[in-house]
Protein backbone atom coordinates (compact mmCIF):
# COMPACT_ATOMS: atom_id res chain seq x y z
CA UNK A 1 0.00 0.00 0.00
CA UNK A 2 1.23 3.46 -0.88
CA UNK A 3 1.22 6.27 1.65
CA UNK A 4 -1.52 8.81 0.75
CA UNK A 5 -0.75 12.45 1.40
CA UNK A 6 -2.80 15.64 1.43
CA UNK A 7 -1.06 18.03 -0.98
CA UNK A 8 -3.37 21.02 -0.82
CA UNK A 9 -6.77 22.37 0.20
CA UNK A 10 -9.05 25.23 -0.79
CA UNK A 11 -12.56 26.49 -0.12
CA UNK A 12 -15.04 29.11 -1.12
CA UNK A 13 -16.66 31.35 1.45
CA UNK A 14 -19.77 29.94 3.10
CA UNK A 15 -23.12 31.69 3.13
CA UNK A 16 -26.16 32.26 0.98
CA UNK A 17 -25.04 32.99 -2.58
CA UNK A 18 -28.13 32.31 -4.75
CA UNK A 19 -26.83 34.67 -7.43
CA UNK A 20 -23.58 32.74 -7.89
CA UNK A 21 -23.26 29.76 -10.20
CA UNK A 22 -22.60 26.41 -8.59
CA UNK A 23 -19.52 26.20 -10.82
CA UNK A 24 -18.18 29.49 -9.48
CA UNK A 25 -18.26 28.22 -5.92
CA UNK A 26 -16.46 25.05 -7.00
CA UNK A 27 -13.87 26.84 -9.15
CA UNK A 28 -12.92 29.13 -6.25
CA UNK A 29 -12.19 26.11 -4.08
CA UNK A 30 -10.38 24.17 -6.82
CA UNK A 31 -8.15 27.10 -7.78
CA UNK A 32 -7.04 27.57 -4.20
CA UNK A 33 -6.40 23.85 -3.69
CA UNK A 34 -4.36 23.53 -6.91
CA UNK A 35 -2.26 26.54 -5.99
CA UNK A 36 -1.87 25.28 -2.42
CA UNK A 37 -0.66 21.90 -3.70
CA UNK A 38 1.75 23.60 -6.10
CA UNK A 39 0.69 21.52 -9.09
CA UNK A 40 -0.38 22.15 -12.67
CA UNK A 41 -4.03 21.18 -13.36
CA UNK A 42 -2.88 18.60 -15.93
CA UNK A 43 -1.14 16.61 -13.19
CA UNK A 44 -4.61 15.67 -11.90
CA UNK A 45 -5.47 12.18 -13.09
CA UNK A 46 -8.92 11.73 -11.52
CA UNK A 47 -11.74 13.89 -10.15
CA UNK A 48 -14.16 12.79 -7.43
CA UNK A 49 -17.05 15.04 -6.48
CA UNK A 50 -19.27 14.84 -3.40
CA UNK A 51 -22.64 16.55 -3.68
CA UNK A 52 -26.15 15.96 -2.37
CA UNK A 53 -28.25 18.64 -4.03
CA UNK A 54 -26.05 19.52 -7.00
CA UNK A 55 -27.71 19.64 -10.40
CA UNK A 56 -27.43 16.45 -12.48
CA UNK A 57 -24.00 16.38 -14.08
CA UNK A 58 -22.62 18.89 -11.59
CA UNK A 59 -19.13 17.37 -11.90
CA UNK A 60 -19.06 17.83 -15.68
CA UNK A 61 -20.42 21.37 -15.44
CA UNK A 62 -17.54 22.16 -13.10
CA UNK A 63 -15.02 20.25 -15.23
CA UNK A 64 -15.74 22.33 -18.34
CA UNK A 65 -14.01 25.28 -16.71
CA UNK A 66 -11.00 23.28 -15.56
CA UNK A 67 -9.46 21.91 -18.74
CA UNK A 68 -8.76 18.47 -17.31
CA UNK A 69 -10.27 16.33 -20.05
CA UNK A 70 -10.97 12.61 -20.21
CA UNK A 71 -9.80 11.69 -16.72
CA UNK A 72 -11.93 9.29 -14.68
CA UNK A 73 -14.50 11.31 -12.80
CA UNK A 74 -17.52 10.51 -10.68
CA UNK A 75 -19.94 11.94 -8.14
CA UNK A 76 -20.75 10.35 -4.80
CA UNK A 77 -23.66 11.10 -2.51
CA UNK A 78 -23.60 10.12 1.15
CA UNK A 79 -25.72 12.84 2.75
CA UNK A 80 -23.64 15.23 4.87
CA UNK A 81 -20.61 12.95 4.48
CA UNK A 82 -20.59 13.24 0.67
CA UNK A 83 -17.47 15.43 0.52
CA UNK A 84 -15.41 13.27 2.83
CA UNK A 85 -16.77 10.12 1.17
CA UNK A 86 -15.32 11.47 -2.09
CA UNK A 87 -12.07 12.20 -0.24
CA UNK A 88 -12.04 8.66 1.15
CA UNK A 89 -12.30 7.22 -2.37
CA UNK A 90 -9.38 9.39 -3.45
CA UNK A 91 -7.27 8.21 -0.52
CA UNK A 92 -8.06 4.56 -1.25
CA UNK A 93 -7.30 5.01 -4.94
CA UNK A 94 -3.90 6.55 -4.18
CA UNK A 95 -3.14 3.89 -1.56
CA UNK A 96 -3.79 1.17 -4.12
CA UNK A 97 -1.84 2.89 -6.87
CA UNK A 98 -4.81 3.53 -9.11
CA UNK A 99 -4.11 7.27 -9.36
CA UNK A 100 -1.17 9.52 -8.53
CA UNK A 101 -2.99 12.82 -8.01
CA UNK A 102 -6.72 13.17 -7.38
CA UNK A 103 -8.84 16.31 -7.21
CA UNK A 104 -11.55 15.94 -4.58
CA UNK A 105 -14.40 18.40 -4.56
CA UNK A 106 -17.43 18.92 -2.33
CA UNK A 107 -20.11 21.38 -3.38
CA UNK A 108 -23.73 22.27 -2.67
CA UNK A 109 -25.85 25.35 -3.15
CA UNK A 110 -28.78 25.04 -0.78
CA UNK A 111 -30.16 28.57 -1.11
CA UNK A 112 -31.47 27.87 -4.60
CA UNK A 113 -33.42 24.83 -3.37
CA UNK A 114 -34.84 25.64 0.04
CA UNK A 115 -36.09 28.90 1.49
CA UNK A 116 -35.75 27.59 5.04
CA UNK A 117 -35.18 24.21 6.62
CA UNK A 118 -34.52 21.27 4.30
CA UNK A 119 -37.78 19.69 3.14
CA UNK A 120 -37.89 16.13 4.55
CA UNK A 121 -37.62 13.35 1.97
CA UNK A 122 -41.22 12.29 1.27
CA UNK A 123 -40.33 8.72 0.21
CA UNK A 124 -38.93 8.01 3.69
CA UNK A 125 -41.33 6.97 6.49
CA UNK A 126 -39.95 9.62 8.84
CA UNK A 127 -39.94 12.28 6.14
CA UNK A 128 -43.50 11.43 5.16
CA UNK A 129 -44.46 11.81 8.83
CA UNK A 130 -43.05 15.38 8.86
CA UNK A 131 -39.94 14.65 10.92
CA UNK A 132 -37.45 17.41 10.08
CA UNK A 133 -33.73 16.82 10.67
CA UNK A 134 -33.66 19.07 13.76
CA UNK A 135 -36.54 16.90 15.01
CA UNK A 136 -34.47 13.75 14.58
CA UNK A 137 -31.60 15.34 16.50
CA UNK A 138 -34.10 16.58 19.10
CA UNK A 139 -35.33 13.01 19.66
CA UNK A 140 -31.70 11.95 20.02
CA UNK A 141 -31.12 14.81 22.47
CA UNK A 142 -34.20 14.08 24.59
CA UNK A 143 -33.18 10.44 24.91
CA UNK A 144 -29.67 11.48 25.83
CA UNK A 145 -30.89 14.07 28.35
CA UNK A 146 -33.19 11.45 29.89
CA UNK A 147 -30.40 8.89 30.18
CA UNK A 148 -27.50 11.05 31.29
CA UNK A 149 -29.06 14.21 32.77
CA UNK A 150 -27.40 16.63 30.40
CA UNK A 151 -28.47 20.20 31.18
CA UNK A 152 -29.74 22.79 28.69
CA UNK A 153 -26.72 24.92 29.65
CA UNK A 154 -24.30 22.16 28.66
CA UNK A 155 -25.98 21.88 25.26
CA UNK A 156 -25.87 25.64 24.78
CA UNK A 157 -22.18 25.72 25.71
CA UNK A 158 -21.40 23.94 22.43
CA UNK A 159 -23.04 26.74 20.46
CA UNK A 160 -21.23 29.43 22.48
CA UNK A 161 -17.85 27.71 22.02
CA UNK A 162 -18.21 27.15 18.29
CA UNK A 163 -19.70 30.57 17.57
CA UNK A 164 -16.82 32.13 19.55
CA UNK A 165 -14.36 30.27 17.32
CA UNK A 166 -16.31 31.22 14.20
CA UNK A 167 -15.76 34.93 14.89
CA UNK A 168 -12.16 34.42 13.72
CA UNK A 169 -13.13 32.51 10.57
CA UNK A 170 -13.52 34.98 7.70
CA UNK A 171 -15.16 32.29 5.54
CA UNK A 172 -17.90 31.45 8.06
CA UNK A 173 -21.52 32.32 7.37
CA UNK A 174 -22.39 33.45 10.90
CA UNK A 175 -19.93 35.72 12.67
CA UNK A 176 -21.85 38.77 13.88
CA UNK A 177 -21.87 38.23 17.62
CA UNK A 178 -21.15 35.53 20.16
CA UNK A 179 -24.31 34.68 22.09
CA UNK A 180 -24.27 33.94 25.79
CA UNK A 181 -25.52 30.59 27.07
CA UNK A 182 -28.73 32.35 28.10
CA UNK A 183 -29.17 33.91 24.66
CA UNK A 184 -28.73 30.49 23.06
CA UNK A 185 -31.42 29.06 25.33
CA UNK A 186 -33.71 32.08 24.83
CA UNK A 187 -33.54 31.91 21.02
CA UNK A 188 -36.62 30.59 19.27
CA UNK A 189 -37.40 26.92 19.84
CA UNK A 190 -37.00 24.68 16.79
CA UNK A 191 -37.57 21.22 18.28
CA UNK A 192 -37.29 20.71 22.03
CA UNK A 193 -34.63 21.01 23.41
CA UNK A 194 -32.87 22.47 20.37
CA UNK A 195 -33.21 26.23 19.96
CA UNK A 196 -32.46 28.23 16.82
CA UNK A 197 -28.88 29.03 17.86
CA UNK A 198 -28.20 25.31 18.35
CA UNK A 199 -28.92 24.55 14.69
CA UNK A 200 -26.51 25.14 11.80
CA UNK A 201 -27.71 27.23 8.87
CA UNK A 202 -28.14 25.68 5.43
CA UNK A 203 -25.55 27.24 3.17
CA UNK A 204 -23.85 27.45 -0.18
CA UNK A 205 -20.21 26.61 -0.63
CA UNK A 206 -17.46 24.36 -1.92
CA UNK A 207 -14.30 22.74 -0.64
CA UNK A 208 -11.52 21.04 -2.56
CA UNK A 209 -8.44 18.97 -1.85
CA UNK A 210 -5.58 17.44 -3.79
CA UNK A 211 -4.71 13.93 -2.61
CA UNK A 212 -1.62 12.18 -3.92
CA UNK A 213 1.26 9.92 -3.02
CA UNK A 214 4.41 10.74 -1.08
CA UNK A 215 6.32 13.18 -3.30
CA UNK A 216 8.86 14.09 -0.66
CA UNK A 217 7.38 17.50 0.07
CA UNK A 218 7.68 18.30 3.78
CA UNK A 219 4.60 20.51 3.76
CA UNK A 220 2.33 17.66 2.63
CA UNK A 221 0.26 16.12 5.38
CA UNK A 222 0.43 12.43 6.08
CA UNK A 223 -2.98 10.73 5.86
CA UNK A 224 -2.54 8.28 8.72
CA UNK A 225 -6.07 6.94 8.44
CA UNK A 226 -9.20 7.24 6.38
CA UNK A 227 -12.20 5.11 7.24
CA UNK A 228 -15.68 5.18 5.79
CA UNK A 229 -18.65 3.14 6.93
CA UNK A 230 -22.22 3.05 5.74
CA UNK A 231 -25.17 2.84 8.08
CA UNK A 232 -26.46 -0.17 9.99
CA UNK A 233 -29.95 -0.86 11.27
CA UNK A 234 -30.98 1.50 14.03
CA UNK A 235 -34.06 0.13 15.71
CA UNK A 236 -35.64 -1.16 18.91
CA UNK A 237 -32.60 -3.37 19.59
CA UNK A 238 -30.16 -0.44 19.59
CA UNK A 239 -28.61 0.54 22.89
CA UNK A 240 -27.20 3.79 21.50
CA UNK A 241 -28.92 6.96 20.42
CA UNK A 242 -29.38 7.43 16.71
CA UNK A 243 -26.10 8.07 14.90
CA UNK A 244 -23.72 7.05 17.67
CA UNK A 245 -22.85 3.59 16.37
CA UNK A 246 -21.91 4.65 12.83
CA UNK A 247 -19.42 7.21 14.17
CA UNK A 248 -18.03 4.65 16.61
CA UNK A 249 -17.53 2.08 13.83
CA UNK A 250 -15.69 4.55 11.61
CA UNK A 251 -13.63 5.83 14.54
CA UNK A 252 -12.54 2.34 15.55
CA UNK A 253 -11.29 1.64 12.04
CA UNK A 254 -9.51 4.98 11.80
CA UNK A 255 -7.72 4.73 15.15
CA UNK A 256 -6.75 1.17 14.29
CA UNK A 257 -5.26 2.26 10.94
CA UNK A 258 -3.36 5.13 12.51
CA UNK A 259 -2.23 3.12 15.52
CA UNK A 260 -3.29 5.97 17.77
CA UNK A 261 -5.55 6.58 20.74
CA UNK A 262 -8.17 9.35 20.91
CA UNK A 263 -6.02 11.11 23.51
CA UNK A 264 -3.24 11.60 20.94
CA UNK A 265 -5.38 13.84 18.72
CA UNK A 266 -4.39 17.50 19.02
CA UNK A 267 -7.25 19.17 17.15
CA UNK A 268 -10.59 18.01 15.73
CA UNK A 269 -13.25 19.12 13.27
CA UNK A 270 -16.45 17.15 13.91
CA UNK A 271 -20.02 17.20 12.71
CA UNK A 272 -21.90 19.74 14.84
CA UNK A 273 -24.97 20.31 12.67
CA UNK A 274 -26.78 20.54 16.01
CA UNK A 275 -25.25 21.02 19.46
CA UNK A 276 -26.13 17.50 20.59
CA UNK A 277 -24.26 16.16 17.57
CA UNK A 278 -20.89 17.34 18.86
CA UNK A 279 -21.50 15.75 22.27
CA UNK A 280 -22.56 12.38 20.88
CA UNK A 281 -19.75 12.41 18.31
CA UNK A 282 -16.99 13.11 20.83
CA UNK A 283 -18.19 10.16 22.89
CA UNK A 284 -18.36 7.93 19.82
CA UNK A 285 -14.80 9.01 18.94
CA UNK A 286 -13.62 8.12 22.45
CA UNK A 287 -12.66 11.68 23.41
CA UNK A 288 -15.02 11.36 26.38
CA UNK A 289 -16.57 8.34 28.13
CA UNK A 290 -20.25 7.55 27.48
CA UNK A 291 -22.47 10.14 29.15
CA UNK A 292 -19.58 12.56 29.81
CA UNK A 293 -19.35 14.32 26.45
CA UNK A 294 -21.45 17.25 27.60
CA UNK A 295 -18.79 18.21 30.15
CA UNK A 296 -16.08 18.80 27.55
CA UNK A 297 -17.11 22.26 26.36
CA UNK A 298 -18.04 23.81 29.74
CA UNK A 299 -14.80 22.46 31.27
CA UNK A 300 -12.73 24.09 28.54
CA UNK A 301 -11.26 20.81 27.28
CA UNK A 302 -12.55 21.44 23.74
CA UNK A 303 -12.19 25.22 23.59
CA UNK A 304 -9.56 26.62 21.26
CA UNK A 305 -7.05 27.00 24.08
CA UNK A 306 -8.06 23.70 25.68
CA UNK A 307 -6.33 20.33 25.72
CA UNK A 308 -8.19 19.07 22.64
CA UNK A 309 -9.76 21.92 20.65
CA UNK A 310 -12.88 20.85 18.73
CA UNK A 311 -14.17 22.84 15.76
CA UNK A 312 -11.69 25.74 15.95
CA UNK A 313 -13.21 26.92 12.65
CA UNK A 314 -16.53 27.52 14.36
CA UNK A 315 -17.90 24.25 13.05
CA UNK A 316 -21.08 23.88 11.09
CA UNK A 317 -22.82 26.04 13.68
CA UNK A 318 -20.80 29.05 12.44
CA UNK A 319 -19.59 28.05 9.00
CA UNK A 320 -22.95 26.81 7.82
CA UNK A 321 -23.72 23.48 6.17
CA UNK A 322 -23.56 23.10 2.38
CA UNK A 323 -23.98 19.34 2.73
CA UNK A 324 -21.54 18.04 0.13
CA UNK A 325 -18.95 20.71 0.91
CA UNK A 326 -18.96 20.38 4.69
CA UNK A 327 -16.50 17.52 4.96
CA UNK A 328 -14.06 19.28 2.67
CA UNK A 329 -14.35 22.47 4.71
CA UNK A 330 -13.50 20.45 7.81
CA UNK A 331 -10.53 18.89 6.05
CA UNK A 332 -9.27 22.30 4.93
CA UNK A 333 -9.45 23.67 8.47
CA UNK A 334 -7.49 20.72 9.87
CA UNK A 335 -4.88 21.15 7.12
CA UNK A 336 -4.47 24.84 7.94
CA UNK A 337 -4.30 24.04 11.67
CA UNK A 338 -1.69 21.30 11.26
CA UNK A 339 0.48 23.54 9.09
CA UNK A 340 0.17 26.45 11.54
CA UNK A 341 -1.64 28.59 8.96
CA UNK A 342 -4.89 29.19 10.87
CA UNK A 343 -4.09 32.75 11.94
CA UNK A 344 -6.16 33.93 14.90
CA UNK A 345 -7.82 30.51 15.05
CA UNK A 346 -4.51 28.67 15.42
CA UNK A 347 -4.40 26.09 18.21
CA UNK A 348 -1.25 25.57 20.25
CA UNK A 349 -0.59 21.87 19.67
CA UNK A 350 -1.10 20.89 16.04
CA UNK A 351 0.74 17.77 15.05
CA UNK A 352 -2.16 15.30 14.74
CA UNK A 353 -5.66 16.23 13.56
CA UNK A 354 -8.95 14.41 13.02
CA UNK A 355 -11.95 15.06 10.78
CA UNK A 356 -15.29 13.35 11.36
CA UNK A 357 -18.30 13.79 9.08
CA UNK A 358 -21.57 12.00 9.70
CA UNK A 359 -24.40 12.02 7.21
CA UNK A 360 -27.78 10.70 8.13
CA UNK A 361 -31.48 11.01 7.80
CA UNK A 362 -32.74 7.80 6.22
CA UNK A 363 -35.18 6.29 8.70
CA UNK A 364 -34.20 3.13 10.53
CA UNK A 365 -30.48 3.42 9.86
CA UNK A 366 -27.85 4.79 12.26
CA UNK A 367 -26.64 7.09 9.52
CA UNK A 368 -26.21 7.09 5.76
CA UNK A 369 -22.44 7.11 6.14
CA UNK A 370 -19.62 8.31 8.37
CA UNK A 371 -16.04 9.19 7.49
CA UNK A 372 -13.20 9.62 9.99
CA UNK A 373 -9.72 10.61 8.84
CA UNK A 374 -6.56 11.26 10.84
CA UNK A 375 -3.73 13.41 9.49
CA UNK A 376 -0.37 14.46 10.84
CA UNK A 377 2.56 16.66 10.05
CA UNK A 378 5.84 15.03 9.04
CA UNK A 379 7.85 15.95 12.10
Amino acid sequence: MNQAMLWGVGTSSYGRFPDQRVESLAWTAVAEAVQDAGIRPDEIDAIIVGSVFGPPGVATRIQRGLGIPSVPMWTVENACASGTAAYHEAVEAVRHGRFKCVLVLGVDQMSTLFSGAIVPEATDPEGAASLPLPGLYALQAQRYVGEFGVTPEQLAAIAVKNKTNGMDNPRAQLRDTVPTVQEVLDSRMIAEPLTFLQCCPTSDGAGAAIVGGDRGDRSDLRIEASAMVSGALWDQRSEDVWGFASVARAAEKAFDQAGRTPQEIDVLEVHDAFTIGEIITLEALGIAPRGKGAELAPSGHTTRDGAQPVNPSGGLLSRGHPLGATGMAQLAEIAWQLRGQAGPRQVARHRVGLVETMGGGAAGMDGNACVVTILSTQS
Partner: protein
Amino acid sequence: MSELGVGRPTKRRAGSAVGGLPVADSRPVLDGDAVLGSRCTVCRYPTAQQHLPWCPVCYGATEPARFARTGKTWSSTVVAIPVGTRRPPFGLAYVDLDDGPRVLAHLDEPAVLALGTRLEITGTDDGDLVATTEVQ
Protein backbone atom coordinates in the same frame (compact mmCIF):
# COMPACT_ATOMS: atom_id res chain seq x y z
CA MET B 1 -44.16 25.65 5.19
CA SER B 2 -46.49 25.18 2.25
CA GLU B 3 -44.62 27.73 0.14
CA LEU B 4 -41.72 25.31 -0.16
CA GLY B 5 -41.73 23.39 -3.39
CA VAL B 6 -44.15 25.81 -5.01
CA GLY B 7 -42.93 27.58 -8.11
CA ARG B 8 -39.54 25.91 -7.93
CA PRO B 9 -38.59 22.28 -8.26
CA THR B 10 -36.49 21.00 -5.40
CA LYS B 11 -34.03 18.17 -5.77
CA ARG B 12 -35.42 16.69 -2.57
CA ARG B 13 -38.66 14.82 -3.30
CA ALA B 14 -41.07 16.96 -1.38
CA GLY B 15 -44.24 14.94 -1.91
CA SER B 16 -47.69 16.32 -2.54
CA ALA B 17 -47.88 17.83 0.96
CA VAL B 18 -45.57 20.64 -0.11
CA GLY B 19 -46.53 21.01 -3.73
CA GLY B 20 -44.57 18.15 -5.27
CA LEU B 21 -45.88 15.04 -6.98
CA PRO B 22 -47.38 12.25 -4.87
CA VAL B 23 -45.05 9.41 -3.85
CA ALA B 24 -45.73 5.90 -2.55
CA ASP B 25 -46.50 6.01 1.16
CA SER B 26 -43.78 4.33 3.20
CA ARG B 27 -45.26 4.97 6.64
CA PRO B 28 -46.33 2.11 8.94
CA VAL B 29 -50.00 1.23 8.51
CA LEU B 30 -52.54 0.99 11.33
CA ASP B 31 -55.11 -1.72 10.65
CA GLY B 32 -57.77 -1.93 13.34
CA ASP B 33 -56.06 -3.15 16.49
CA ALA B 34 -52.62 -3.66 14.96
CA VAL B 35 -49.69 -1.91 13.30
CA LEU B 36 -48.74 -3.77 10.14
CA GLY B 37 -45.20 -4.86 9.29
CA SER B 38 -43.07 -7.96 8.80
CA ARG B 39 -41.50 -10.58 11.03
CA CYS B 40 -38.67 -12.96 10.27
CA THR B 41 -39.74 -16.59 10.20
CA VAL B 42 -36.30 -17.65 11.48
CA CYS B 43 -35.01 -15.13 14.06
CA ARG B 44 -38.38 -13.44 14.69
CA TYR B 45 -36.96 -9.94 14.04
CA PRO B 46 -39.89 -7.51 13.80
CA THR B 47 -39.91 -4.47 11.51
CA ALA B 48 -42.45 -1.95 10.31
CA GLN B 49 -40.99 -2.27 6.80
CA GLN B 50 -42.87 -4.35 4.25
CA HIS B 51 -41.97 -6.09 0.99
CA LEU B 52 -38.42 -6.89 2.18
CA PRO B 53 -36.29 -9.26 0.07
CA TRP B 54 -35.25 -11.12 3.23
CA CYS B 55 -34.74 -10.52 6.94
CA PRO B 56 -32.16 -7.73 7.23
CA VAL B 57 -30.75 -9.38 10.38
CA CYS B 58 -30.39 -13.09 9.44
CA TYR B 59 -31.46 -13.20 5.75
CA GLY B 60 -34.30 -15.60 6.58
CA ALA B 61 -37.69 -15.35 4.94
CA THR B 62 -40.11 -12.77 6.31
CA GLU B 63 -43.87 -12.88 6.61
CA PRO B 64 -46.49 -10.16 7.12
CA ALA B 65 -47.05 -9.42 10.80
CA ARG B 66 -49.46 -7.55 13.06
CA PHE B 67 -48.00 -5.76 16.05
CA ALA B 68 -49.73 -4.58 19.22
CA ARG B 69 -50.64 -0.89 19.29
CA THR B 70 -49.13 -0.38 22.74
CA GLY B 71 -45.57 0.39 23.68
CA LYS B 72 -43.01 2.55 25.46
CA THR B 73 -41.68 5.98 24.60
CA TRP B 74 -38.04 5.77 23.43
CA SER B 75 -37.90 9.55 23.09
CA SER B 76 -40.17 12.44 22.28
CA THR B 77 -40.00 16.07 21.22
CA VAL B 78 -42.18 19.01 20.36
CA VAL B 79 -41.44 20.48 16.94
CA ALA B 80 -41.89 24.25 16.89
CA ILE B 81 -41.50 24.87 13.15
CA PRO B 82 -43.91 24.10 10.32
CA VAL B 83 -43.03 20.95 8.36
CA GLY B 84 -45.00 19.94 5.28
CA THR B 85 -48.65 20.49 6.07
CA ARG B 86 -47.97 20.23 9.79
CA ARG B 87 -48.42 23.40 11.81
CA PRO B 88 -46.44 23.84 15.02
CA PRO B 89 -46.36 22.92 17.73
CA PHE B 90 -46.67 19.19 17.18
CA GLY B 91 -45.38 16.31 19.25
CA LEU B 92 -43.42 13.36 17.90
CA ALA B 93 -42.29 10.20 19.65
CA TYR B 94 -40.41 7.07 18.80
CA VAL B 95 -42.49 4.26 20.29
CA ASP B 96 -41.08 0.79 20.90
CA LEU B 97 -44.15 -1.37 20.35
CA ASP B 98 -44.52 -4.11 22.96
CA ASP B 99 -44.00 -7.02 20.61
CA GLY B 100 -42.60 -5.21 17.64
CA PRO B 101 -40.62 -2.49 15.97
CA ARG B 102 -39.80 1.09 16.87
CA VAL B 103 -42.17 3.42 15.03
CA LEU B 104 -42.43 7.19 14.75
CA ALA B 105 -45.80 8.54 15.90
CA HIS B 106 -47.39 11.93 16.31
CA LEU B 107 -48.60 12.68 19.83
CA ASP B 108 -52.24 13.67 20.21
CA GLU B 109 -51.09 16.41 22.60
CA PRO B 110 -47.68 18.03 22.04
CA ALA B 111 -45.46 17.20 25.04
CA VAL B 112 -42.04 15.93 25.98
CA LEU B 113 -42.71 12.65 27.79
CA ALA B 114 -40.52 10.83 30.30
CA LEU B 115 -38.53 8.01 28.72
CA GLY B 116 -40.53 4.79 28.92
CA THR B 117 -43.94 6.49 29.15
CA ARG B 118 -46.61 4.04 28.01
CA LEU B 119 -48.24 5.03 24.72
CA GLU B 120 -50.99 3.58 22.59
CA ILE B 121 -51.36 4.08 18.86
CA THR B 122 -54.97 5.25 18.72
CA GLY B 123 -55.39 6.25 15.11
CA THR B 124 -53.90 8.02 12.15
CA ASP B 125 -53.94 11.58 10.92
CA ASP B 126 -53.48 11.92 7.19
CA GLY B 127 -51.49 8.67 7.25
CA ASP B 128 -49.32 9.49 10.25
CA LEU B 129 -49.60 7.22 13.28
CA VAL B 130 -51.08 9.08 16.26
CA ALA B 131 -50.22 8.02 19.80
CA THR B 132 -51.97 8.80 23.06
CA THR B 133 -50.64 8.46 26.60
CA GLU B 134 -52.05 5.15 27.86
CA VAL B 135 -54.71 5.53 30.53
CA GLN B 136 -53.50 3.75 33.68
